[in-house]
């Protein structure tokens, strides 16, 4: 059983790739475009034995495809054909859904350059974005969690009223015992399941437009890199709980209002996983060399949002600091002047 899938154009025999702008599988040779949603996925008709495939061969040129163990889609390093390693996308590694790229490589590059130009604190040399060493489109494995939270909260609240009576200042504090039983459901909470990806970076890429979720078909991966998950839904569940705990706390405090001060005595949060879907989400990774240091940026392949720590220019920081301070100083002077103080 062949574990490598390639897309040969039925017209001319060239290797077809996914076209992000058109959303179709297209042939760079003759321009043929195939609607992916109506295609038969060759993956569906395949079954694999338990033992891992040790070696992959390019079906075009026969060369050994060198990959990392997580890679599920790549291109042949010899002939450049887009290949999908189907055993890494089937069985337990079969994604349920995928958000295809809508930003193609050129558009991503353009968007990244624009983002660099808008950097308020980045050095002048960085803003020109002419030292990009690599831009790679990767389908990053994510788990989308549906979480159900049963919450019980015990708290003490006070309402404080201060008033003066004659020569005395009177502080009246009313004490309350607070109880809340709350149910909160979170749906499609994304958590990246790739070991290689920086969690903080991936969290900042959100939100992903879920209306663009499509049933998974391998042609979407043609021409891009894809990875399989390093952590399954059970292993990532603690991180999911951690991510929602801030949301849960915010929800709880929104239900306790009208008090001057609230102190929580007991907070019971019982989180259950109702569902976890394995999906692939589109991310452009940009590597940038600047002053002999490498910077990594990530771009949401659907929305174009760019994240990643750029170099910071000390001179620009100082200029902004001085400028804002000077403006604030003048503003404060004007305030004190309108209040009746001398301007000088």
């Amino acid at each position: 059983m062949e574990a490598v899938i390639e897309y040969k154009c039925p017209n001319c025999g060239s290797g077809m790739v996914f076209d992000a702008a058109a959303g179709t599988l297209s042939c760079p040779g003759c321009g043929r475009q195939d609607n992916i949603e109506q295609m038969m996925d060759p993956l569906k008709s395949q079954t694999f034995t338990e033992q891992d495939v040790k070696e992959y061969h390019c079906t075009s040129c026969g060369a050994v495809i060198v990959t990392e163990p997580e890679t599920s889609a790549t291109s042949c390093s010899f002939c450049g054909s887009a290949v999908v390693l189907s055993d890494r996308l089937s069985g337990q590694f079969a994604p349920v859904m995928v958000i295809p790229f809508t930003i193609a490589k050129e558009a991503a590059m353009k968007a990244f350059k624009k983002w660099c130009r808008n950097g308020l604190l980045t050095p002048r040399g960085f803003m020109s974005a002419d030292r990009v060493t690599g831009i790679t489109g990767i389908y990053v494995p994510f788990w989308l969690y549906d979480l159900h939270n049963d919450i019980e909260v015990q708290a003490q609240g006070t309402k404080v009223r201060i008033y003066t009576q004659g020569d005395y200042r009177i502080t009246e504090t009313q004490h309350y015992s607070i109880y809340r039983k709350i149910q909160v459901d979170y749906v499609r909470l994304p958590l990246d399941a790739s070991e290689k990806m920086n969690d903080a970076l991936m969290d900042k890429l959100e939100p992903f437009p879920y209306d663009q979720l499509k049933a998974f078909k391998t042609p979407y991966l043609a021409g891009y890199l894809a990875e399989k998950y390093s952590y399954d839904d059970e292993q990532l569940f603690p991180r999911a709980k951690e991510k929602t705990s801030a949301y849960v706390d915010a929800f709880i405090s929104s239900t306790v209002s009208g008090y001057t001060n609230v102190s929580y005595i007991d907070k019971q949060v019982d989180t259950t996983m109702k569902r976890a879907d394995y999906v692939l989400l589109p991310v452009w990774m940009v590597r940038y060399n600047f002053n002999r240091a490498e910077y990594t940026f990530a771009m949401n392949g659907q929305t174009g949002k760019v994240v990643g720590k750029p170099p910071i220019s000390k001179a620009k920081v100082a200029a902004w600091f001085a400028g804002i301070s000077a403006v604030s100083f003048v503003a404060l002077k004007i305030v004190s002047w309108t209040m009746g103080g001398g301007f000088l």
């Binding site: 308020l120 604190l121 609240g157 200042r169 009177i170 502080t171 009246e172 504090t173 009313q174 004490h175 309350y176 015992s177 607070i178 109880y179 039983k181 709350i182 149910q183 909160v184 459901d185 979170y186 749906v187 499609r188 900042k204 890429l205 959100e206 939100p207 929602t244 801030a246 949301y247 915010a250 929800f251 239900t255 949002k305 760019v306 994240v307 990643g308 720590k309 750029p310 000390k314 001179a315 920081v317 100082a318 200029a319 902004w320 001085a322 400028g323 804002i324 301070s325 000077a326 100083f329 003048v330 404060l332 305030v335 004190s336 209040m339 009746g340 103080g341 001398g342 301007f343 000088l344």
Partner: protein, 267 residues
Amino acid sequence: MRRPFTLLAALLMFVVCAAALAIPGHSEAAEAGSETKNLIYDKANLLTQQEWDELNALANRYGAKRETDIIILTSTNAENQDVQLKTENFYDDQAPGYDKPHGNAVILTMDMRNREVYLAGFGKAETALDDSRLDKIRSKMTPDLTRAEYAKAFERYITLSYTYMGYKPGVNPDNILFALWFQLGAALIIGGIIVTVMVYRSGGRVTVSGATYENRGTSGVLEHADQYIRTTVTKTKIPKNNGSGSRGGGGGTTGGGSSHSGSRGSF
């Protein structure tokens, strides 16, 4: 070469900006035109000649800027006259005033016999240096008077009278918003906070919250209780802010019919 230059330019801009606003312009021309008046009547001989010269020059310079005579009157009070009456009689008899006789003047009277001090504001100074402002000046100079550091106390009186007259009548001149160190400090803190936030946000920020993923249809409060338990009450006495050695006082009207503000106390 470019970087340190930008940095220097930015800092320089801030310093120049701050300095231009902070340092009051010394308009030498205005002072040069007016002759030096005798404003210090040191009958109790509390000052050396050098101190007298310096303080009189200071009173002339600052008084000119506020168009008010800043006067000091010291007395051994052989006739044992009330210090307020003494001040009022002095104003009626000497008819001081920057703009005209019986004009704008603030008078500090020292009664060395009863160790009492009286401050009075006439003309423009009656409103620009009202009772509460005169109280502030007096309470700030009293410690120096008690230590018999008269020159220091008088310098305080002259500069404070000048400073306080720069504020609109009715506002508290000691409001922290008017303090230069506060304005500078607050401006630097605001700049620091905003730039820190800018640096922090330069790497992209999280734009989702719990609401993004919350299922509104099934989320909500199932049970709630807010039970009142008890009320606790604390009473604190409001401290009265009476200055040291104050004996009330306030303003009044001289025998000659000039009304004035005032503050009286001992040292």
